[in-house]
């Protein structure tokens, strides 16, 4: 072994630590003075959906929801953070601008049905829409008349005013020119008069002329008639929902940025408080400074506001600060990248330099797990709850558990395969988590029945670890099959080692999933008096327990041996994936044309791949490369069971298979 290979693992780890150091340094609060300090603005707290978050978090989730990214290109084409987008959307209110002569005033987008109103506005009844320029002048008069008249009488005027209000907000400000609305559906593109182009992201300005077709959808959303009648309808509803969120932000009715003035107050919306409110005034100043691009004023006001808040609400601010740091650092993304590195290093080790590469991979994995662990602790601190509180959290937790478990197995067997499996599960679960988290608040508040630390910490954690162990067993099963069928490396020793690892992991999985499932039943008994209700989620958990028990009993009964166990372990992946996701898709299968459509595809795809692997695992041994090559020398003779129990006749023959005496040295 030469010197370089001794140092190699250290080099890798050193580089990674430097990389992480740079990221962390960048995630620190920025102190820039020359330009608007967006970072400081992003750290301001707000109440949103029941919890205090930094504006940065809201910006990221909403921009992610709209465009599928956490950053966007500004008008000069430069990439900007989500906070900038949120700031500009919030600033729209201060830059409202709709004149009959502007281009926006010429778009025929307003729907007026009422004959009386049309007459008063001096319009001729016609099919289709009216432009603002056609009735703008008269509208003011009509509104004036209305003030003296019967307010309730004219619903159609109110409707028109709402339309004008929404339209004004959509048409004004810089934010309307940002290309951040991702529209994938071709029919929707056609309906909005857009052409498909790379990225499929469009600005409001581009489809402003066609906004008229959205009024129906806005009405439906308001009345909560949101069951889509088809894919087109679903996509239109999605877009309309996003646009309404946009309008709400411009209007200051979301999020609640005005902190409680004194003890006992609640957080309030900009739209709720008068301009005289001290915080509202400061906030308005920030927005105006943003529009006027007055960086100095902007920074100063943000700084003063932040300082005042820090004194008023130290806890909330500390959390918001922390969350903002968490957003910038994005530790789950970092570990995902590192797991990719581990995967590549292990793959490389199969082709040579296996010692140093494996050692480097192991320690890199250790660093990645540390980051992953810290991220989980961050989440626990921020939510004040145990790690698994929703589907997203379950994904990051399962990934974490799987990597740890695999590192333990790697420590024992030291053959790279466990590490390969672990890093793969780590990457996959983190990708799944990213998909699940996109556009959602991953630390959102919980329903009343879920607000119990005890059961979240016991039942949910236990079940998630059960999933974890089942997935690890499945991954090792895949490794067994793939190594055996496609490579000559699955020799007696490796085969036995892998089979033992699979067996032990399934035992672990059985224990955890059984205990977790029963604890869930006990929770149910505590909260509604029914230990077991046979509902889909419970059934899913039961399936995992049954599957694992089946695998173990088949093994004990001698019905399967190493290969059979590997194949069944792969089947465990299917059962677990079903329990994790399939059950959730069951209910919405009929009416969902949204996210779940893609998710169903991926679930079926995953199940398909596992079935293929199982089929491969069932190929006759003749077709396994490993056994073709190694048959003769390997089968020296399996050591006969050395100490047969005295009462052999009473016991099951198969039991001899599990413990084939002392391992051959």
């Amino acid at each position: 072994m030469n010197k370089f290979s001794d140092y190699f693992p250290w080099c890798v780890c050193g580089l990674v630590v430097i990389y992480l150091g740079v990221i962390i340094a960048n995630a620190q609060p920025s102190q820039r003075k020359d330009k608007a300090n967006l970072d400081a603005f992003g750290r301001l707290p707000a109440m949103h959906n029941g919890r205090v978050i930094p504006l940065d978090s809201l910006a990221r989730t909403d921009l992610m929801l709209f465009s599928g990214r956490e950053s966007f290109p500004d008008l000069e084409g430069q990439t900007q953070p989500a906070t900038k987008w949120l700031l500009d959307v919030m600033s729209v209110e201060a830059a409202l601008d709709l004149s009959p002569t502007s281009p926006a005033g010429k778009h025929r987008v307003f729907r007026i049905k009422d004959a009386d109103l049309l007459k008063r506005l001096g319009l001729d009844p016609r099919d289709g829409f009216y432009a603002y320029e056609e009735f703008a002048a008269k509208l003011t008069d009509v509104e004036k008349d209305q003030k003296h008249g019967d307010m309730m009488k004219d619903r159609s005027l109110r409707e028109l005013q709402i339309q004008v209000n929404i339209y004004k907000r959509l048409a004004s400000g810089r934010a309307s020119q940002y290309k951040v609305f991702r529209i994938e559906n071709e029919e929707v593109l056609a309906a909005l008069g857009l052409k498909a182009r790379s990225g499929l992201r469009y600005s409001i300005e581009e489809f402003l002329p066609k906004v008229g077709i959205l009024w129906d959808y806005f009405t439906r959303l308001e009345q909560q008639r949101v069951t889509p009648s088809g894919p087109f309808d679903a996509r239109m509803l999605d877009l309309s929902r996003n646009l309404l969120t946009y309008v709400e932000i411009t209007h200051g009715s979301m999020p609640q940025v005005i902190p409680p003035l004194r003890e006992g107050d609640t957080w309030r919306r900009m739209a709720e408080v008068g301009a005289g409110h001290p915080y509202a005034r400061a906030f308005a100043e920030i927005l105006v400074a943003n529009i006027q691009e007055d960086a100095a004023a902007f920074n100063e006001t943000v700084q003063i506001l932040a300082k005042v808040l820090r004194e008023r609400l130290p806890d909330e601010i500390r959390r918001a600060d922390f969350e903002s740091f968490f957003n910038h650092f994005a530790p789950f993304d970092r570990s995902e990248i590192l797991y990719c590195g581990v995967f590549l290093l292990v793959c490389g080790s199969f082709f040579g330099y296996s010692g140093p590469l494996l050692r480097a991979a192991f320690w890199l994995c250790a660093i990645a797990v540390v980051i992953h662990t810290i991220a989980l602790i961050f989440r626990i601190y921020l939510t004040g709850l145990p790690p698994v509180i929703n589907l997203y959290a379950s994904a990051v937790f399962i990934g974490w558990g799987a990597v740890l478990l695999c590192m333990g197995l790697e420590w024992i067997w030291n053959n790279g395969i466990s590490l390969l499996a672990g890093s793969l599960i780590g990457v996959l679960t983190l990708i799944i988590a990213t998909k699940l988290g996109a556009g959602n608040d991953t630390m959102g508040v919980l329903e009343p029945v879920l607000r119990t630390r005890f059961w979240l910490a016991t039942h949910v954690t236990c079940v998630a670890l059960g999933y974890t162990a089942t997935f690890v067993a499945g991954a090792l099963g895949i490794a067994y099959i793939v190594t055996g069928v496609f490579t000559p490396f699955l020799d007696d020793k490796l085969s036995k080692g892998l089979a033992k690892a699979v067996y032990g992991t399934i035992c672990f999985a059985t224990l955890l999933s059984f205990t977790g499932t029963v604890l869930g039943g006990i929770w149910a008994d505590q909260s509604w008096g029914r230990f077991w209700g046979w509902d889909p989620k419970e059934n899913g958990a039961l399936l995992i327990v049954l599957w694992n028990a089946l695998s173990l009993h088949a093994r004990w009964g001698g019905m399967i041996k190493q290969r059979g166990l590997a194949v069944l372990a792969v089947g465990g992946n299917i059962v677990t994936a079903w329990s994790w996701f399939g059950v959730n898709m069951l209910g919405v299968g009929l009416h969902s044309y949204g996210f779940m459509e893609g998710a169903v595809f991926w679930l079926l795809f995953a199940v398909g791949t596992q079935l293929v692997i199982m089929a491969i695992g069932l190929l006759p041994l003749k077709m396994w490369r490993s056994f073709n090559v190694t048959r003769a020398p390997q089968i020296a003779l399996p050591p006969p069971e050395p100490k047969l129990p005295k009462d052999f006749g009473k016991r099951k023959k198969g039991r001899a298979d599990i413990k084939p005496g002392p391992a051959p040295a």
Binding site: G50, P448, V518, G529, W534, L543, L586, G587, F648, K652
Partner: protein, 483 residues
Amino acid sequence: MSSAITTTPPAPTPPPAPVPAPTPRAKSKPLWIRILEPVASLRITVVLFSFSLALVFFGTLAQVDEGIWFVVGKYFRSAFVWVPFQIFFPRPTPDGGGMAVGGYFPFPGGWLLGGLLLANLLAAHAIRFRATWRDALLLPLFVFSLVLFVLAEAQGSTQLLHWVGGFVMALVIAGFFAWHGKRGAILTLHAGLIVMMLSELITGLMAVEGNMSIRERGFSNFTEDVHNSELSFVRSVDEKTDDVAVVPDRFLRTGELVQHDALPCDVFVNHYMPNSHEPEPLKADFKNPATTGRGLRDMVQEKARVSGVGGSSDVDVPSAYLTLKKKGSGEVLGTYLVSNYLPPQRVELDGKVYELALRPKRTYKPYVLQATEVRTEYYEGTSRPKSYSSKVVLVDPTRNEKREVTISMNDPLRYQGETFFQSQMRGMQGPDGQLMPATVLQVVRNPGWLMPYISCIMVSLGMIIHFGLHLIKFLEARGRAAA
């Protein structure tokens, strides 16, 4: 099934050696062993597990179409089930999607599979785990312990019985370990599973659930079963007493004539709807069967029954059009619309005033619950509920009991074998007709409720010890190999 390694040798070695040894014993095997041996086979265990897996899976898929209660009865608490092929295919939708598939296939139900698994397990223990005369001592103790637990609940929770039951069970477990060594772990584990299966059986047979809705500052002395309804004739006899006659919903089938001495009249069922839409003002094109009462103003139309996956909060709301007929003469007194959606209607029969209603099945209790405070907390600035809690006063004149308790989510009240859980909040009409907040308590009587707790402890303990011993042995072997 073949294995990777052990099948490949040219195999001059016959299956492991000691075939000759047990032969003489095999001849002398008593008959019961020879009968039990195939029953105890692990193969059967694995086959039963596969069937159970399939059944649970089918039972989950079936919940797309049918209510959870219906599925539980049909698939899990039954001996056989006819499974429709349709559950494996996308359901037909109004806009032409999906596939309509007909036909059914038979499959063993939950109770049959559970029973077989139990038989398999018991046989395995009788044969493979070297049961001795001493175990015959443990069996009655085991049963005794379970009886104590169930009894404790049937009699109203008694702490003493719990402790005695727990102590006896601990004795049994100690016996397992004392007389079977390491195998005690598996025995404990499997005994725990038996407890679990029995608990499901007891729950299936004996558990009773009901809802009690109490508006703030109001009280209630009955529970309602939202899964069953009844047609009620209530006559107020004096201030304290009502005269109540009810017809359970299973008799209310379209076209049926219901007659009974206790009823003030005969009831002909024109149209019974197991689930229905909310009442709406009468439309012109609706062929209205009603000739009197609320049915002259409103109409109700039938709706598909709810399915299991839509959230367990959805329940069927039945309605019916009924014709009341004079007893004996059969003279028609009028056709009424009754519905779980609608309040009782006044009906005059033979000069007496009755309140006629279709309502969830009621069970009257010897105690009264009074809600002093009903609270829903919301997350700040949202309409998302954060927690529910109800302060109630329980008054039981039969036992001279009066206590005030707060019931909240995950924190129920247990009283006399019944448990009161905070279920949900709703609005209810107060005495002056205004809407008031009301709490809905789920009231459950399940004599087997403690058994899963015991089972969980036993199985987890058994598994931890069993697998733990495996692991220790394995690590020791590795340590030796490394050294």
